[in-house]
Amino acid sequence: MSTTHKRVLLLLAHPSQHRSEVNIPLFNAAKAIDGVTAVDLYGEYPTFDIDIECEQQRLIEHDIVIFQFPLYWYSTPAILKEWQDLVLEYGFAYGTDGTVLKGKTFFCAVSAGGKEDAYQAQGYNHFTVRQLLAPLEQTASLTGMHYLAPLVLFGARTAIEDDFMARHIGQWQRLLKALVEDRVNVHLTAKLDCLNHHLDTIIERER
C-alpha cells in the first residue's frame, strides 16, 4: 500500500450556480475529501481577469488536475477555455523549458444533458464525449500529462428526478479517494469511452 498521497486540483467551471442541480452537489462532495483543492473559477474570476501567476502556482503544487463542468455545445464553458489560453503558457506548459505539467494526470468530470446512447456514433450526437473532448486530450498529450477518460453524468437535467444523484456522488467520491491514494491504474483507462462503468477495473487495492 502506497503511503504517498497525491494532491488533486479540481477546477469547476459553472456560470449559473444558482440553477445548478448536479455540479454543485458534486463539487461540495469533492470538497469534503482530504487532498482535494476545489476551485470555483467563475467565483474567483467573475470578470474573467484570470491571475496567471496564481493559477500556475496551483498547477505546480498538485499532481492531478480535473476540469469539472457542464458540457456546453460539446465543449467547456468559456472560462475554462480562457483559463487554458492564459495559464498554459509557452515555456511553462509546453515548449523548450515548459515541462511543469509533465507526468501529472488530467481528466474531465462532465455533466451532459443527453442520455448515454445519444453520445454514440449511432446516436443523435454522433460522437462519444471522449471524442468531443479531443482538444483537451491533445493538450494533455502536448503538455506531457497522463489522460484519463472522462467521468460523465449523462441525462443531467433529470438526474434528481430519476434518482441517480446519490449513486453518482458515491462513484465520484470513490474515484477521488482512489486518486488521492494513488490507486488508479491510468493505463487501463486508455481505451475507455468514459470511466462510469469501469471503476471496479481501474481502481486497485480497494478496501
Binding site: 470578470t47 481577469d49 496567471i52 489560453d85 492564459l86 503558457e89 509557452y90 515555456g91 509546453y94 515548449g95 523548450t96 509533465k102 460522437f127 471522449r130 471524442q131 468531443l132 479531443a134 486530450e137 494533455a140 498529450s141 502536448l142 506531457g144 500529462m145 497522463h146 489522460y147 491510468v186 493505463h187 486508455a190 481505451k191
Partner: protein
Amino acid sequence: MTGYFLQAFIYLVAAVIAVPLAKRFGLGSVLGYLIAGVVIGPVVGLVGEEASVIQHFAEFGVVMMLFVVGLELEPKMLWAMRHRLMGLGGLQVVLTAAAVMAIALYFEVQWTIALTIGLVFTLSSTAIVLQTFNEKGLGKTDGGRSAFSVLLFQDIAVIPMLAFIPLLALPELVDKAQQLASTAAQQHQEVSLVAGLPGWAYALVITGAIALLVVGGHYLSRPLFRFVASSGLREIFTATALMLVIGIAAMMSLVGLSPALGAFLAGVVLANSEFRHELESSIEPFKGLLLGLFFITVGAGVNFAWLWQELGVIVLMTLGLMLLKVLVLLLLSLLFKIRKSDRWLFALSLAQAGEFGFVLVSYSVQNNVLPTDLAQTLLLVVALSMFLTPGLFIAFEKLILPRYRAAPDAREADIIEEQGPVIIAGVGRFGQVVNRLLTANGVNTVVLDHQISQVDILRSINVKSYFGDATRPDLLHTAGIEEASLLVVSMDNPESATELVKYVKHTYPQVKILARAFDRGHAYMLRRAGADFIQKETLLSALELGADAMKCLGFHPFHVEQQKNTFKRIEKRSSDILYQAWCDDSSGERFDNNYRKLFIELEETIKTAMTRDRSDKHSNSERGWTPPPKGYEEVLEGDEPIDPAAAKADITP
C-alpha cells in the same frame, strides 16, 4: 431642592452599580434594577415613603414601552405572524390564567381575586427573555420565534387587562378607598372631561378620541415631524416625540381610557412612518430610564419582613407557578409541533412571571381589586420567578442542548438562517444605487438619511427609507445594527462617515462595513477606522470614462479592457504599500515625505505595466494570450509521444 438631588443621586448610584454587575453575572438588567431597589430600600433603608410616589411617575415608562412596542409592530408584520400570535399566544394566556385561577379557587380565594392572580401570572418577562435571546443568539431559532410570538401577544393582552381589572374591584376595598379619596380630593381634584356625562355621550367621546388619535397620527404627525426635522435641531425632535407621547397619555386620561392603550395605538399608527426609527431612538432612553426607575421602586417596595414570614408559601408558590407554566407551554409545543431543543427553549424561557405582572399588581391595588397583603406576596412571587430565570437558561444550555447535539438530526442541511437586514447610511446619489441593486435582489435593507427632503423623494418612489442621523448610536440601535449583516456607509460627509465606521467597528465588530470613500486619503482613513470593503466614489467611473476616451482614440475595445484591468490590479496591489506609508507619515509627521515618493513610484509602475505589452520581444514578464516564439513548432515536432498508451488509443474523432 437638596432633598430631591440626594434622592435622585441615591437612585442613580444604585442603578449604576447594580445593573452592570447583574449583567456581568448574566442576570440581565431587569434583575439589576430590582436588586438595586432591594438594596437601597429594605436592606439599607435609604429610601422609603417616597418610593410609591415615584412609582406612579415611573409607570409612565410602561406607557412609553407600549409606544415603542407599537412602533415595532407594522400592521403587515402583525398579519404575517397572526397564526402563531393568536394560536400560541392566545392559548398560553388563556390556559395559564385558567389553570392558575382554578388552583386559586381550590384554595377558596374569591373569584375576582383568583382571576386577577391568573392574569398577573400568565404574563412572562419580555424584557428578560428578549434580552437573553439577543445575548445568546437564540432569537432566530424556532423556539425563540415561538416565544417571541407569545410575548408579543402578552404585551398586547396587557392593554385589555388594564381596562378590565377595574371592573373586578372589591366593594369593601372601594369603600375604604373612597373615604381616603374624598379627603384627598379636596386638595387635589383629578381632571376629567367625562365626569358627569351620560353613557351614550361617553361612548361618543371615546370613539372621537380614538379616531382623533388614529387619523391625527396618520395625517397630522407627518407635517409636524417634517417641520421639526427641517429645523435640524435634534433636541426639538426629542421634545416633539415626548410631547406626542405625553399628549396622548393626557388625552386618554382625560376621557378615562388607559394611557398605555393610547400610546400603543399611536405607536402602531406611526410604525410605517419614515420617522419611526428616529422616534424610537428619541423615546428609548426615557423609556429605559423610567422602566429602570419603575423596577427600582418595585425592588424598594419589597417587604422583607413579609418575605421571611411567608417564605415557605412564597417559595412553594413560585416553584409551583413555574412548573405549571412549563407544563402549559410543553402542551402547546406539542400542539404546534415545536420540536426537540426548540421545545425546551420555548417552555423554559417563558416560565417566569414578568414585569407587566408588577404593573398589573400595583394597578390592581390602586383599583381596589387586590388586598395589600396578597399583593405583597404576589410581587415577591413574580420577582423570585424572575430571579430564577437566568438559571433556567443556563440549564437549557448546559443540560438540554448537548443532548440534542449528541444525536445529530437526520435532516440534511438546516434551513438557511434568516439574514439580518443591510443598513444603508446615506442615500444620496451613491447609496441609492447600492440600495436599488440590493432590493432588486430581494435583500432586506434599512435606509437612513438625515435629509428629510431626500427621504421624501425616496418615499415617493416607494423606497422604504427613514429620517435620522446614522452617526447616532441610538438610531443605529433602533435600525437593528445588532442583527444587521452589513452596514453600507455612503454618506456625503467624509468626517462623519469615518466616525461612524470607527464607532460601529468598535461596538459591533461582527457587522461587516462597506464604505464609500471620497478620495484616496479618505479611503485610508476609512481603512484605519476598520472598514472591510472600500470603494472610491470616482475611481471606477473615471476609469470607464478614460476607457471610452481610449476607444475614441482608436484603441481596440478589448485591449482597452485589458489595460483598464491592469490599471485596477496594480492600483489595488500597491494600495497596501501606500497605506503603510500614509500611516507612517500621518502619525509621525515625518519630514521626508515617504508617501509622496511611493505615489510617484506607483505612477511609474502603472506606466511600465501598460507599455510592457507593446514590446514585440517575447519575455517572461509578458502575460496574456502571448503567442509562442517564432519557429517553436520545429522543436515540438521532434518530440516523442509522452504517454505511449494514450497515443496508441483507438480514438478517431
